[in-house]
């Protein structure tokens, strides 16, 4: 593929490549509004996983989040004839539900990135700054485009325990597009847009 040309066909010269394992300096260099293209292994985790880890649960053997990314996603997976899994839909789910837990998981498990949608709050923002992590906003609802970026479903953990949407899926992704909306400098695009839109509305009511 030509450099600067994404698989989506539109030119994205400005996209920053991030590849697993994600390195702290590179993560700290990111700024709100940067567009990134993510490659390598990521783990899905949503409500059940976050609550479980928050309550002191241990990660299953073979799963490490150190210098890794957690993806707030409840994918649709189909089991193939050869017992492997195929990802047929994989858009982000709303992240704010993990706000009570996320800061602690960033701190204790060494996360470098969280992919989701809708943004997160104050505590996550502080943890991103303290420990060197970013929040990466994927396009909500783009289940098909994002499933295409899942090259391989490498493994699944806690399938029995939490059920398919809530399990920890180990995904290998390529050129997965996202936008940095909370950076490690204490900035949040969500905060900025809220403040700006609130001011714009005040002039119009």
């Amino acid at each position: 593929m030509q450099p600067g040309k994404s698989v989506t066909g539109f030119t994205k010269i400005s996209m920053i490549e991030l590849t697993f394992p994600f390195n702290e300096n590179q993560i700290r260099a990111l700024k709100v509004g940067d567009e990134v293209s993510i490659n390598g292994v990521v783990f899905t985790g949503r409500d059940a996983v976050h609550k479980y880890l928050h309550e002191g649960g241990q990660l299953p053997t073979g799963v490490s989040l150190r210098d890794g990314i957690i993806y707030h996603c409840g994918p649709v997976m189909l089991k193939q004839a050869d017992n492997t899994w195929k990802c047929t839909a994989a858009g982000p789910t709303t992240s704010i539900r993990e706000e009570p837990y996320q800061w602690q998981i960033i701190r204790d498990f060494g996360l470098r990135g969280v992919i989701g949608k809708g943004g997160m709050g104050e505590r996550t923002q502080v943890a991103c700054r303290e420990y060197g992590c970013v929040y990466l906003h994927a396009v909500g609802g783009a289940a098909q485009v994002l499933a295409e970026r899942v090259r391989q479903v490498r493994n699944v953990h806690f399938l029995e325990k939490f059920g398919a949407p809530e399990a920890i899926w180990e995904l290998e992704i390529v050129q997965f597009p996202a936008v940095v909306t909370i950076d490690a400098h204490g900035k949040s695009l969500h905060e900025e847009i809220l403040a700006r839109s609130r001011a714009a509305l005040a002039e119009r009511v």
Partner: protein, 292 residues
């Protein structure tokens, strides 16, 4: 499988995988409006590709296939019980085929039996009419956008919203502000002014059955719809809340009677993945026309 069941499975498949043409048009228009290379325009481009991919692969546009809402217009005397039974079977079938995610959870036990059928799921709204036609419309209403819906009771002192159209305008715009990009915007608002707490929300959702480009026959409501759309798009919230010109793709408002003591404004938010379709069915249950 009966003809009716086959038709309803096809209605579900198409609703889940194919965005209606009026909505796609609005999305393309927004893609044109946004500045090339901006976060907003890149997000809209991904949305547009997603629409094409879902259609081609006949797979859900979004993995949250939502609450399943049927709106059925029947001739007088039509057997609604049988229709509902058949539709529940069609939902199970469509779930097995992957057109719907296993998306319905017992609220007490948290159990998901994987069928999408349970108490209140799917939901049916039957209406009889004097004609001979049977029409079934389907809306798949996502959860993320449902969560940013809001109901206001007027007067609302904080927002300086009185019991008049200007008060309605203020609370509707507040709902847009509060929603930001969290409901997978650009969104579409369905609003009901009046009614009670239950009917207000229920009627607000019927507004999603309207075509995006239609105009409200009530002049005051038409003016309010245009005003809310324009004003919202000046707020700079944009697709996904990334900033930009398209915060909303459409606004649809109705008014219902209320009791003197209450004045509710109920606002439902629909994400860009606006899944709504409908069919006209012949006497043997086959599809004779698509409604959108």
């Amino acid at each position: 499988m009966s003809n009716l069941q086959v038709s309803l499975v096809e209605l579900i498949r198409r609703t889940s995988a194919e965005i209606p043409e009026d909505v796609h048009k609005a999305i393309l228009h927004s893609l044109e409006q946004e500045k090339k290379g901006s976060l907003a325009s890149n997000a809209m481009a991904i949305i547009d590709q997603n629409i094409a991919l879902a259609r081609r692969k006949s797979q859900p546009l979004c993995q949250d296939t939502g609450s399943i809402l049927f709106y059925v217009h029947t001739p007088v005397g039509y057997d609604q019980i049988q229709f509902a039974d058949t539709a529940r079977e069609a939902v199970k079938e469509a779930t097995k085929k992957g057109f719907l995610r296993q998306n319905s959870v017992d609220s007490l036990t948290g159990r998901n039996d994987g069928t999408n059928v349970g108490i209140g799921a799917p939901a049916f709204h039957f209406h009889q009419h004097r004609g001979s036609e049977l029409e079934a419309r389907l809306v798949l209403k996502g959860g993320g956008c449902e969560n940013v819906g809001a109901q206001y009771s007027l007067p609302n002192e904080d927002l300086h919203a009185n019991r008049d159209l200007d008060g309605c305008r203020k609370v509707i715009l507040d709902a847009v502000l509060q929603a930001q990009g969290k409901g997978c915007g650009p969104g579409i608002l369905g609003v009901c002014i009046g009614g009670d707490r239950a009917t207000g929300y229920e009627l607000s959702k019927t507004q999603f059955l309207r075509r995006l480009e239609d105009r409200n026959p009530v002049p005051e409501l038409d003016a309010l719809e245009q005003d809310i759309l324009m004003t919202s798009n000046e707020l700079g919230i944009g697709p996904m809340g990334f900033g930009g010109k398209t915060t909303l793709l459409g606004v649809k408002i109705m008014a219902a009677n209320r009791v003197p003591a209450s004045f509710f404004v109920s606002i439902s938010y629909m994400c860009w993945a606006y899944r709504r379709q409908g069919v006209r069915l012949n006497a043997t249950g086959e599809i004779s026309d698509w409604l959108y």
